[in-house]
């Protein structure tokens, strides 16, 4: 009987994004454009190592004490402490009041997985609310740990704008104390963020329903070029929730430091203010010990190289300054590409309104192109994006943006704008 056990495994569909990469690499057409995976490319379409990272690498390699020893289970302290300041701000009340537990994680996914493991252990019955749509991997991360997920309305397809009413309604009708996963900035995949006023409404409703907030912060500084601006929602959330509930923040350095493959990130848990009967130090120590147990059971201790680079960038004032400039370089190029794409579509008289492309922020644009249009883009024009119509704007450059606009123009006309 046991002989056949292996035979029953189901073949899973390949991960949509990683699969695009594969198709692209076997596509022999001379002009092909990758608007799939969310990784920054420079104006030559090449991966770009940030100048601040280059410098940090040099410093690390020249350090006579550099070695490959294990990091602690909680990771590199100079990373986690530098990282939390970037996120919360130098003057954060939560930091002053010492209410934060921070540990290193395997970038954003690892931090989210850690949150999922933590919820599974201590509040398994809570519903996890994800935006509709959301990053394709969010569902899997929580569901594979046995948590139940639900969705809240986010994107109004007709107006290509935020469905605030539906969003607030979902917050109000969700069981009290549910978990809400919020994209801190540069919402993936839509590129659409609530404005400051909308954030205040959303967070107020969340406080009133005693929900728990998990911020997924994958694009801080990458979206606008300004770390503080992109941390607006997180900081407002911490302020508004300071007396009511813990806040979890999953922080990735994949995009804003370009650490993609080095898997550098952090998991932060910010405890609420509580009355004097609660020994916050003890609660923090307990949380930390449980997080350590999770890490120990999956990877023992986190990888060192990426952590050391990011820590160097964050703790060396010269490099920090350079890094800020690097983020401006990336974000301004992407914003420029948004404008060029929109302008080209307008001048080609492509049916439909394309203003949302410039209104959106971060790596992606939710173009509104249908699945069949996306398919035709790939088949006829070798322009690759995921079937939801999400385009990674970082894949555009001055050499290919015209080509892409013409390709979009062709497929929209082919199917007709009623299919948009």
């Amino acid at each position: 009987m046991s002989k056949s056990l292996f035979n029953n495994l189901q073949l899973l569909p390949p991960d949509a994004l990683f699969n695009i990469k594969q198709r692209l690499s076997t596509d022999s057409r001379p002009v092909k454009v990758d608007l799939g995976i969310g990784a920054y490319r420079d104006d030559n379409g090449k991966p770009w190592v940030l100048p601040s990272v280059r410098e940090a690498e040099k410093l690390i390699q020249q350090d006579p004490d550099y070695n490959h020893e294990y990091l602690g289970i909680a990771g590199l302290t100079s990373l986690t402490q530098g990282a939390v300041k970037v996120l919360l701000g130098q003057d954060s009340p939560a930091l002053k009041e010492d209410r934060v537990v921070s540990v290193q994680s395997l970038s954003g996914t690892g931090a989210l997985h850690m949150a999922a493991s933590f919820f599974t252990k201590f509040c398994k019955d809570k519903l996890v609310y994800l935006s509709d749509p959301t990053w394709a991997n969010h569902n899997a991360i929580f569901e594979t740990m046995g948590l139940k997920t639900a969705s809240y309305p986010y994107w109004n397809a007709a107006s290509k704008s935020l469905d605030l009413e539906g969003y607030l309604n979902a917050i109000k009708t969700a069981p009290q104390g549910s978990i809400f996963v919020l994209h801190a900035c540069a919402h993936n995949p839509t590129g659409l963020d609530p404005n400051e006023e909308q954030w205040a409404k959303i967070l107020k409703a969340i406080v009133e329903q005693d929900h728990i907030v998990l911020f997924d912060s994958a694009y801080q500084g990458f979206a606008s070029g300004d770390l503080n601006k992109d941390a607006f929602a997180v900081r407002l959330g911490l302020e508004m929730l300071a007396d009511s509930a813990p806040v979890i923040i999953c922080q990735s350095f994949a995009k804003n430091v370009g650490m993609y493959g080095e898997r550098a990130g952090c998991f932060h848990l910010v405890l609420p203010r509580q009355d004097a009967s609660v020994d916050t130090e003890h609660v923090k120590a307990s949380v930390k010990s449980q997080l350590a147990k999770i890490t120990r059971s999956e990877l023992s201790n986190p990888p060192a190289y990426g952590a050391k680079i990011v820590a160097t960038v964050l703790n060396n004032p010269e490099l920090t300054k350079q890094w800020h400039a690097d983020m401006v370089t990336m974000s301004s190029r992407i914003i420029k590409m948004r404008h060029q794409l929109r302008d080209s579509l307008v001048s080609l008289k492509t049916p439909g309104n394309w203003d949302h492309i410039v209104g959106q922020t971060g790596m992606f644009s939710y173009t509104g192109l249908s699945a069949e249009m996306v398919q035709r883009l790939e088949k006829e024009h070798a322009v690759y994006l995921v079937s939801s119509g999400r385009a990674s704007i970082a894949g555009l450059n001055s050499g290919n943006v015209e080509y892409v606009a013409k390709a979009i123009n062709e497929v929209v006309n082919y199917f007709g704008s009623s299919k948009l």
């Binding site: 990784a39 009133e208 898997r263 509580q274 307990s286 120990r296 990877l299």
Partner: protein, 420 residues
């Protein structure tokens, strides 16, 4: 106005119990704050040279230089595929299943080995145990004693029944007791799924005692008879005899197709932490030798990918790039073999020097203690005395990491050991 209140969740968070500190890495934290100038850390399995330094292996240092100077290779901090770097995969497979184990060539030709780059040995065990618990087995057998984190990894990844087989009795390896335990307990299991058994490939951690080839044959025969699934944990390849190839005997023996078939697969969890000194970079692999290749192998591949995608998306790049350069550059590979030999020789010489100073049974026969550790047989209270009175840190079970000893401290430590 916002209603301010302390909700249930903070209450829950207060109720989180303190998880015990990790048995090994926790001691290092204690060591770091010890003020005794003679303090000696003999806990963690990190190789130190005779000057007490953690040095990068010469082969690895040269690979790093190549990497640092190669603009092309170094430009790319991009995401690795979910299963890891393809070149790394190819070269590790060749190293493991061709160089180390000619029995594997046929398996490679038949494409029967499913492979993922993992976060070193722990990561391999985590992915393996997650996969097994999802589809094949919830019961595992470890040697008593074993690496303390083994049970933690399997428990946190879905295993329900954790069992221990007799391994060590009165200072000796007890193969008869081992086989009897399997015979008695595993045969009587009412579990409808086949149980797994974890085998230390060489340099058993913590006892340093390994079965002979003849004994391994008896053990593997029994494992096959009982339809158990072998999981080989190979963390110290090369550190036993100094010969990377020689130390792979358990894998070679298990893959002798005239003697063994593994209808539910054979799992190899392999690490470059110790034998390349890449500890903190987290480099290793999981390979699953599937019974028939083809669809079964592809289905396993797809499930392993899903697990990784939900845990951390993709593995860290740097360490695997370094390891890949060592494995794929002939003169560096030769140098690496030399490096490993030198490490093993130093470990042997430390044992010999201890034997001159201590009249211990376990030190008399150098063939009895394999690898980086000496299992002193000291009980907990003796270990406590060593730590409290002499600032000499051993793992609580009496395991002593040999490479922590050198010419400058061996007299001090041996004196203390004698007194205790």
């Amino acid at each position: 106005m916002l209603r301010r209140q302390v909700y249930k969740f903070p209450g829950r968070i207060q109720a989180i119990p303190m998880a015990p500190p990790d048995k090994i890495l926790g001691l290092t934290e204690q060591f770091n704050v010890d003020k005794n100038p003679k303090k000696t850390n003999l806990t963690v399995g990190i190789y130190k040279d005779n000057w007490g330094q953690v040095t990068t292996f010469p082969s690895v240092a040269r690979a790093q230089t190549i990497l640092d100077q190669s603009f092309e290779m170094n430009t790319d901090l991009s995401y690795l595929p979910i299963k890891g770097c393809p070149d790394f995969r190819e070269n590790v497979l060749k190293f493991l299943y061709r160089d180390s184990c000619p029995e594997g060539v046929e398996l490679l030709d038949q494409d029967r080995i499913s492979f993922v780059q993992t976060l070193s040995g722990t990561g391999a065990l985590a992915v393996a145990s997650k996969f097994l618990s999802l589809f094949i087995s919830r019961t595992v057998w470890f040697p008593d004693p074993s690496w303390p984190n083994h049970a933690n990894v399997f428990q946190n990844n879905g295993f329900k029944n954790i069992n221990y087989y007799t391994y060590y009795k009165e200072g000796k390896l007890d193969v008869d007791g081992w086989i009897q335990d399997l015979e008695k307990e595993a045969r009587e299991t009412t579990d409808e799924y086949p149980p797994c058994i974890v085998l230390h490939a060489c340099c058993h951690n913590p006892t340093g005692l390994d079965p002979t080839l003849e004994q391994w044959r008896r053990i593997l025969d029994k494992i096959q008879e009982l339809k158990m699934i072998p999981i080989i944990d190979m963390a110290y390849q090369g550190l036993d005899t100094g010969d990377l190839i020689k130390d792979t005997y358990l894998l070679r023996l298990s893959l002798d197709k005239n003697r063994y078939q593994w209808p539910n697969g054979l799992f190899l969890c392999q690490s470059f932490a110790k034998n390349m000194g890449l500890y903190g970079e987290r480099v290793g692999s999981l390979s699953v030798v599937t019974p028939s290749g083809g669809d079964v192998k592809h289905n396993v591949d797809s499930q392993l990918k899903k697990i990784v995608r939900g845990m951390y998306s993709s593995p860290p790049g740097y360490g695997s790039r370094v390891a890949n350069i060592v494995l794929s550059t002939p003169h560096l590979k030769d140098l690496w073999f030399e490096d490993v030999k030198n490490v093993a020789q130093r470990l042997q010489s430390v044992k010999a020097k201890m034997a001159e100073r201590l009249d211990w049974e376990s030190l008399k026969d150098p063939s009895r203690q394999h690898g980086m550790f000496l299992y002193t047989g000291l009980n907990t209270s003796s270990v406590d005395i060593l730590r409290e009175r002499f600032s000499i840190y051993l793992v609580q079970d009496g395991r002593l990491s040999l490479s922590g000893l050198n010419d400058s401290n061996i007299d001090y430590v041996c004196d203390a050991l004698r007194k205790v």
